[in-house]
Symmetry: C2
Subunit: 476 residues, 2 copies
């Protein structure tokens, strides 16, 4: 019953001949051809108003979804070239990981039990300065993508050095992504200053202008590490190019307190004055929010990206998701980098988001399963401006979908598959993943990433970085 | 690199002949025979003061651990009849799940997003009254044990109807357990009243008096569902028999407020007056504690069982683990039943316990990994009075150990295996489990539970219970 061993339980031959014989020639003529029908025990479309379907499937033509319906209805309308039957699985839209630093997968576990300031200033930044290169980013991004595909993520947002490398790696692996190129005032491995970063980033944006799967956004690191002048430049360019702005915002109480001391206002209040609050803005973390700030975010259509594991692990705080949703703010989920999580499994973020919303409100009805799953799919797509393309299973959207095998004892029995998806570690039971109709995971095996080669590169980096970790642990 | 597919990477032949030849006859004579050596990339003994070992292993003779040491040291001292080499694995003590209701695995997901009172009174109790039988408990306990073994639990505490059936099922499956027989004032499927429950429970205690793996304890449901008269009887018997008392205590604010209204004191204060606070008492949940109550628990050696997922999901509150540990209270971890979690994976409880301790204290250094793992192993063993037998890898203790395969991308690279065990869903990568030297999971396959037959029984119960769930969801 393990997810690795089951998978495709039966692969039926294309059956339009059978139907043509059984139902007559005219009927067969009316059925449209499609490339693939994926059938499953359950389908969770996540489209607004759509209900859970049983014994249903998705018809795919080219890169897109042609239809989502019961097996009976699909059989009446479509003659698939191929059919995959997943008898113990849920089919659902691929998850959207709206915040991360993929290549930091190579720094998973280097700094444990440390608060944000120590973690960043004394551990992560020095290690990055010593080790991060184009090659590090290539290998680290592939490691992260292997993990994300295996746990059902089909679209991720990334903010890291060498964004050109991230974009190329994502294209090659077949994942959908938003690459937010990093803008930081001080010199780093990728850019000598913020102007240089903007220059390189704008070139990257231009290179991917017409790409179907890679979207380039502005990634100012945080308001405390980018000058107001550069934030204003970013605002101007983002309006001109209709590009998103992705930023760490109100992550810790100390950060907000410093803004109040130095500027007499919080960062969100200052952003309003600058004009940065808009539906193009993705505010990541937002653990520290007043009622007035929630109102500002809501009125300006800002998206919030909630990263619960990272916020708890670094003791930053808890994003008030219940209040944000009540105010009408769209909330997405992010894993953050593996160095502060230490997992990139977005199902786990959905679970923790749901649990935290309940306990902080003292109300078990808060953030019910369907809303937690919506944050992990459609909410993420909305935040990245991709909800016309992905985030739900709907005819006309891209065929970005995943199958989760619920046959293992830990998922049984299934009364309500949504409960299993949110509360029982579904990420480790993902068996199949498609992005734009292309299979990236088939019966538990990656198709676009060679895990053997990946393992060798990971070991190469581990051996280089481990001595520095030991030195840090000794405090020398 | 998947955990299901790797596993035993190489099985070396017994090598004492090689050594006898190479090092001479006298040396070979000095090596003691043992049944099995399990070698792994890392060994985490969890014994007080013991450090992480690399390229190390455990020598097993009969039901017990003969030695824990590096491979070189074991080779010098032992001539094993068999050897298992796990090159990408961590070997650690089996986890101790100190609170649960195993058979409720059959009710996984029946009542979602409901607060404790509704969940219990309107959903769970009516369903139990209708469906729970000896056969339900047998099948449900086996389903739970399959999940617990697969996620690395070797010892569990159970509190449920038909405890005789639980004890027999655990013996058969080879798990170690504490069976806390339920005492509740009102009539239920197992006992017509508290006296009848005590009578049957004492008989059960007698039957397992000399059992090496099953220990019987008193399981008064909660202070609000058992009279003072019966709590006093339980206290008397527990002292006479030196048996543990396992009880839900201070789970919700409403429960404590009611005690104050009706009795002028909290349950913990009342327990002190009765004399129930002692090292035999296992206080489960304890989300509502004053500083004075923490002091009472500490001074009387009471053990607390923290069930973070269940407490968050039912919006009960957060157990103040940091304060309890600082006061010297032993804290164990429990999954609670699958109907309020919905998982029985104790690694997930360790992760959430660590994260909650950090964020509630605003200090990322709180409950570091080693302490979270200690709660999941030795802390649990201490709570159940089994720390002389299990909970750490030490010579003379029972051979209760598990191997976790860290080869999958989501665990890579490994700088600090403890970080992987706590923060990266290690429960789904458990490959091998031994209890008292007997293998219960070998390379991802259960040896004592037939999963095919289990699946059929689970489907039988699902089909019977599902119509009632639908009725509840419709509110009819």
């Amino acid at each position: 019953m393990s997810s690795e061993k089951s998978g495709i339980l039966a692969e039926r031959p294309p059956d339009h001949d059978v139907f043509a014989t059984r139902r007559g020639y005219n009927f067969a003529m009316s059925r449209q051809p499609c490339d693939l029908i994926v059938e499953a025990r359950w389908v969770v479309p996540m489209a607004p108003g759509a209900r859970l379907l049983e014994r249903a499937g998705v018809a795919i033509t080219g890169t897109d979804i042609a239809a989502v319906a019961t097996v009976a209805a699909l059989d009446a309308d479509y003659a698939p070239a191929r059919r995959i039957v997943l008898d113990s699985h849920v089919l659902m839209p691929g998850l959207v990981n709206a915040h991360g630093h993929a290549a930091m997968a190579l720094l998973r576990g280097v700094s444990e039990d440390a608060p944000l300031e120590t973690w960043l200033n004394e551990h992560i930044w020095p290690l990055e300065a010593r080790h991060v290169s184009e090659s590090f980013v290539h290998d680290g991004t592939r490691l992260a993508m292997a993990e994300m595909i295996r746990s059902g993520t089909t679209c991720f947002s990334d903010m890291y050095f060498f964004p050109e490398t991230v974009a190329a790696a994502a294209r090659e692996a077949g994942l959908r992504c938003q690459v937010a190129f990093p803008v930081i005032d001080f010199a780093n491995v990728w850019s000598e200053n913020a102007d240089a970063a903007l220059h390189r980033g704008l070139r990257l944006h231009d290179a991917y202008r017409d790409d179907a799967r890679v979207k380039v956004a502005f990634g100012p690191h945080a308001p405390y590490s980018v000058t107001r002048e550069h934030l204003e430049k970013i605002l101007m360019y983002s309006e001109e190019l209709d590009a998103n702005v992705h930023i760490h915002l109100h992550e810790t109480a100390a950060e907000v307190a410093a803004a109040r001391t130095n500027h007499g206002a919080s960062w969100i209040e200052l952003f309003e004055r600058i004009g940065l609050l808009s539906p193009r803005l993705q505010a990541v973390h937002a653990t520290q929010l007043t009622a007035a700030e929630i109102d500002l975010l809501a009125r300006n259509g800002v998206h919030v990206v909630h990263c619960p594991h990272s916020n708890l692990k670094l003791a930053s705080g808890i994003c008030p998701v219940g209040e944000l949703l009540a105010a009408g703010v769209n909330v997405a989920l992010g894993s953050d980098g593996a160095a502060s999580n230490n997992s990139l499994d977005l199902f786990q973020e959905a679970r923790l988001a749901s649990l935290l919303a309940k306990v902080t409100a003292g109300d078990a009805a808060r953030l019910p399963e369907i809303r937690a799953l919506e944050m992990a799919t459609l909410g993420g797509a909305r935040a990245l401006g991709l909800d016309a393309v992905t985030g739900s299973l709907e005819a006309g959207k891209s065929a970005d979908l995943v199958a989760v095998d619920l046959s293992a004892p830990r998922f049984q029995p299934v009364y309500d598959p949504l409960a299993q998806l949110v509360h029982t570690a579904a990420g480790s039971a993902v068996s199949h993943v498609w992005v734009a109709g292309r299979a990236l995971l088939v019966d538990g095996a990656l198709t676009t990433i060679d895990e053997q080669a990946l393992g060798e590169r990971t070991e190469y980096w581990r051996a280089r970085i481990a001595p520095d970790c030991n030195r840090m642990a000794r405090g020398t």
